[in-house]
């Protein structure tokens, strides 16, 4: 394994054309980002010139709105329009207006575009009818005149009591009885996590524009143009050529604009079709939180056999995820959850049982991490409790169990390369001063306990109002799609030398802030011996770019980047071959003039020696894994139970760093989302309705809530990708929450086993039985 660590600050050179992917020390120049190209669409974003969906102007466009259920479960008996109102100036769409299938294209296709009369409403805020009008005031006035006649049905809210199973998996390796038979300790624990809202700052937005040929173009905020394209074809009965999807500048996605934009696009398109004019379907924040997908809540139970020296002997893990009312991507989220639930640790005897069920709550879907943050919070907190039980440092327990080269995962996957678990652990412990600070917080805790009297507050003693704590967690994240997902999709990415001598990258992979439009020119130009600015990105428009797959699963840099590098290599070889072997950079302009355009379409080929059996859940679940470790320090307010997260050191192995500033940006942003998940982000439900469905009540961290973030990037390249990249988007989301919860325990001596660790939960835990909750030694 070649692991190289890149401590901050990195100074990088101008990339040499011959070896574009080597990061080496060098100077920084103005007009560059630490020696690397500036974010390509940055100037447009910084001057306000960038056009997001709601900034686009379509003359004559009407405004659209969605009429939603106000019950969690009911039979839809009728939709009535108030006869005293004038409906002639608006259009109203119901399920009866759908020309194709009344189903949103997805895995199981159980979700209607609109609930039909006679059909079943399955969740609060479910779309039932649509209205469009020339102005918002008319919509406001008339929407109240659309009445839903329903008969209530008994709802199900507890995922463990639901009898409708969306997906179920069992992973087995070794023999649990052998493991538990040899145990010196058996540790059990139950962990719970709630919903989390993606909370991109740009709400969902789609504008549908009907074409003269009966086709439909949709412009919008989205991650996956071809998902929306497929949905339009299916529900509107369009041909591939009649459906067109164009991505507008997109103000964040985080998974929240993976599958849900399909239904919004369909709603806009149905209205546009009936109105015969463009229709703008722009969600406000309240609607976006109330109706769109969240991270899956989960209940995770661990029973673990441990030897006296801390060696893991057996893990018995049960996962129940709440899918919400429709299947969406739940089977794939659950699958990733199951496969990550043991954590990055060697264990000879493992059983993982996972199931996801249906409840009468709005459907849950994709969110950065995709099932892994839930289970990794559980296993990391469980491991920290095992360390406490054994009187071992959490770092030492991990050193004894973390995967090394040659180890085997629960699916029987032998880790043959690119294993940096020990490396990220070592770096995080060192950079975070973990052991030193841990002994300091232990001394502080001992002094508080020793002082006896507790003036000023029930848990306070001495003069200190806050208690400091430090916590450690580590994690892993399977790179790219699970199992044979990539083989099934068969993505295509293209690099083209145009007739007028421009080099263009054609991909459907979207820019939503993570840096797609900056890193692709960098990767491709390096292969061609050109400066990055000589490579253009084609607009993300299904009429122009091939289907390079969805922008999800941290697969863009790794998989699509790999395809573009291969395409660029073929383009270079082809052009150089017909020009006497002279370098591409010297001859491409003349070559284009002489030979016209040359386009290379690169289709995904399975990674060599990677094989997974989707039916038995045995084999190589992922082509490679990214590895991460995180040290967090907190202050817990002893009067209020509030947690201030002070510093986080995040160490992430991403295979290969393509652009250090953008890469760090992914780690920093993902880490803060994990801190929010750990501390303040919570959805409260009543009768299946989200109670805090506004930004005033669903809180995310502000700059004052955010810790100082320090990032260390590690490179353990994956040989299956030409550049070695393993992706970075999701990995940091997996480790932050358990590190914060461990730090809270270190500060005040209680384990918070249900996220988020709100002041209420912390105070309740402090008031509870203290028997097993002495402060960490």
């Amino acid at each position: 394994m070649t692991t190289r660590t890149l401590p901050r600050p990195i100074t990088a050179p101008e990339r040499s054309a011959a070896d574009a992917l080597v990061v080496a020390p060098g100077g920084t120049t103005r007009g560059r980002a630490r020696g690397y190209p500036l974010r390509r669409e940055g100037p447009a974003k910084l001057t306000g010139a960038a056009k997001y969906a709601d900034d686009l102007v379509f003359p004559g466009a009407w405004y659209g709105a969605t009429i939603r259920s106000t019950q969690a479960r009911a039979k839809l008996v009728a939709i009535e329009l108030d006869p005293d109102l004038d409906w002639s100036k608006v259009v109203v769409v119901t399920a009866a207006d759908i020309p194709g299938e009344n189903l949103v294209a997805a895995i199981k296709e159980d979700q209607p575009v609109l609930v039909p009369v006679g059909g079943e409403i399955r969740h609060h805020a479910e779309p039932v009818a649509l209205i469009a009008a020339p102005d918002r005031e008319t919509i406001r006035r008339l929407r109240a005149g659309i009445r839903l006649v329903t008969e209530a049905l008994p709802p199900v809210f507890d995922p463990e009591r639901s009898d409708h199973v969306f997906a179920e998996y069992e992973v087995q390796n070794g023999d649990l009885e052998v493991g538990f038979g040899a145990a010196a300790h058996v540790v059990e624990g139950e962990y719970r996590v709630g919903h989390q809202e993606q909370l991109y700052i740009e709400n969902n937005a789609m504008i549908a524009v009907p074409g003269e040929d009966g086709g439909m173009a949709v412009h919008g905020s989205l991650q996956c143009p071809y998902y929306v394209h497929r949905a339009l074809r299916k529900t509107l009965g369009l041909t591939a050529g009649q459906a067109r999807v164009v991505q507008a500048e997109t103000g964040g996605g985080f998974g929240g604009k993976e599958e849900y934009p399909s239904i919004i696009a369909l709603h806009a398109a149905l209205l546009a079709r009936k109105a015969g004019r463009p229709v703008r379907m722009i969600y406000d924040r309240h609607e976006d939180i109330a109706a769109t997908t969240k991270r899956h809540p989960a209940i995770i139970r661990h029973r673990t056999a441990v030897a006296a020296d801390g060696t893991l002997l057996a893990q018995d893990i049960e996962i129940v995820m709440d899918g919400g009312a429709y299947c969406t991507l739940t089977p794939v989220v659950l699958s990733r959850g199951a496969l990550h639930s043991g954590g990055p640790y060697r264990c000879p005897n493992v059983r993982i049982r996972a199931r996801a069920t249906r409840t009468n709550t709005p459907p849950n879907g994709a969110f950065r991490g995709f099932g892994a943050p839930q289970v990794e919070f559980a296993v990391e907190t469980h491991l920290n409790r095992i360390a406490e039980r054994l009187g071992l440092s959490p770092a030492e327990l991990r050193r004894r169990n973390a995967y090394e080269l040659g180890d085997t995962t629960p699916t029987g996957q032998v880790l043959r390369e690119s294993v940096a678990a020990q490396e990220v652990l070592r770096l995080a412990v060192e950079a975070g001063d973990f052991e030193l600070l841990r002994s300091a917080t232990a001394r502080a805790a001992a002094e508080r306990l020793g002082s006896g009297e507790v003036p000023g507050g029930p848990f306070r003693s001495g003069g200190a109002r806050t208690a400091p704590g430090i916590g450690l967690a580590m994690g892993w994240h399977g790179a790219g799609f699970t199992g044979s997902g990539e083989v099934h999709i068969g993505s295509v990415a293209s690099v083209e030398l145009t007739a007028d001598g421009r080099v263009r990258v054609l991909i459907a992979s979207t820019e939503m802030g993570q840096g797609t439009t900056t890193i692709f020119p960098l990767m491709v130009s390096g292969e061609l011996g050109l400066p990055a600015q000589a490579v253009e990105m084609a607009p993300v428009d299904t009429a122009i770019v091939p289907d390079s797959g969805p922008t999800v699963a941290s697969r863009t840099a790794m998989v699509v980047g790999g395809l573009c590098i291969e395409a660029a290599r073929r383009l270079r070889a082809e052009v150089e071959a017909r020009n006497d072997g002279r370098p591409f950079a010297e001859v491409y302009l003349a070559d284009a003039a002489a030979h016209g355009p040359t386009r290379i379409d690169q289709r995904f080929e399975p990674y060599p020696d990677i094989d997974f059996d989707d039916t038995t859940y045995q084999g190589d679940a992922y082509p490679a894994f990214g590895w991460a470790a995180c040290v967090a320090t907190v202050d817990v307010d002893l009067d209020t139970g509030e947690v201030a997260v002070r510093d986080v050191v995040a160490v992430d192995d991403v295979g290969r760093v393509i652009h250090p500033i953008l890469c760090e940006g992914q780690v920093e942003g993902g880490t803060l989302q994990a801190v929010g998940y750990a501390t303040i982000e919570e959805i409260k439900l009543q009768d299946g309705r989200y109670l805090n469905d506004r930004l005033a009540t669903y809180l995310i961290p502000t700059a004052l809530d955010a810790p100082r973030l320090r990032t260390i990037l590690v490179e353990a390249p994956f040989s299956g990708a030409p550049h070695g990249a393993k992706g970075v988007g999701e990995l940091p989301m997996d480790v932050g929450a358990p590190a914060v919860v461990a730090a809270i325990h270190d500060a005040v001596g209680v384990w918070i086993t249900e996220l988020p660790a709100t002041p209420e939960r912390i105070l309740a835990a402090l008031e509870g039985p203290r028997g097993t909750q002495e402060p960490a030694a």
Binding site: R30, G31, R32, A33, R34, L38, R39, E41, G42, P43, A44, K45, L46, T47, G48, A49, A50, K51, Y52, D54, D55, Q198, L199, Y200, I201, E202, N203, E249, T250, G251, G252, G253, F254, D284, R285, M512, G513, Q514, G515, I661, L662, E664, G665, E668, G669, G670, T671, L672, Q673, R694, L695, A696, I700, T702, A703, L704, A706, R708, L709
Partner: protein, 159 residues
């Protein structure tokens, strides 16, 4: 309808709108200044931040009746002088070079809050900067690089 006169980015403007129409809507829909964004419509996210007589305000909470005779500055006016030279101003340059903008939707509001902080004499102290931008939510960056960019400008590291 009321005739309301004010200055936007140095240019005089007169609009004839209901007094309760939001400044945000006048900027975006009547004047075509779509650089100012709407994130929540209730003053929580700061994406619609503009400067009103030099003070940072959420333009979704400002009725036009309060704007008569006043000076409004938006992201489009941040680099008026610099834009004539075809460049960004120092603050925008720092955001670009240090990686402080990702998806970009909070960026216009964040820049206006940062501008107000710097114009008020704010220095490079990170805690003070965090206080200055606490009304502006960002979901992409973790704020680290935003704070560093503003600190670099305050310290004169970006000329």
């Amino acid at each position: 309808m009321t005739a309301i006169r004010f200055l936007v980015n140095g240019s005089p403007v007169e609009v004839d709108v209901p007094g309760m129409r939001r400044l945000l809507d006048v900027l975006r829909e009547d004047l075509g200044l779509t650089g100012t964004k709407e994130g929540c419509g209730e003053g929580e996210c700061g994406a619609c931040s503009v400067l009103l007589d030099g003070q940072v305000v959420d333009s979704c909470l400002v009725p036009m009746s309060q704007v008569d005779g006043r000076i409004v500055r938006t992201v489009e006016g941040l680099a008026l002088a610099a834009r004539e030279r075809g460049t960004l101003d120092t603050l925008q340059e720092a955001f670009l070079e240090l990686g402080a903008a990702q998806c970009g939707i909070c960026t216009p509001g964040m820049l206006m809050a940062a501008r107000a902080y710097l114009d008020a004499g704010g220095g490079p102290d990170h805690d003070a900067i965090r206080e200055g931008i606490a009304g502006n939510l960002c979901r992409c960056t973790g704020y680290q690089k935003i704070v560093e960019a503003i600190a670099a400008v305050a310290a004169g590291d970006v000329a």
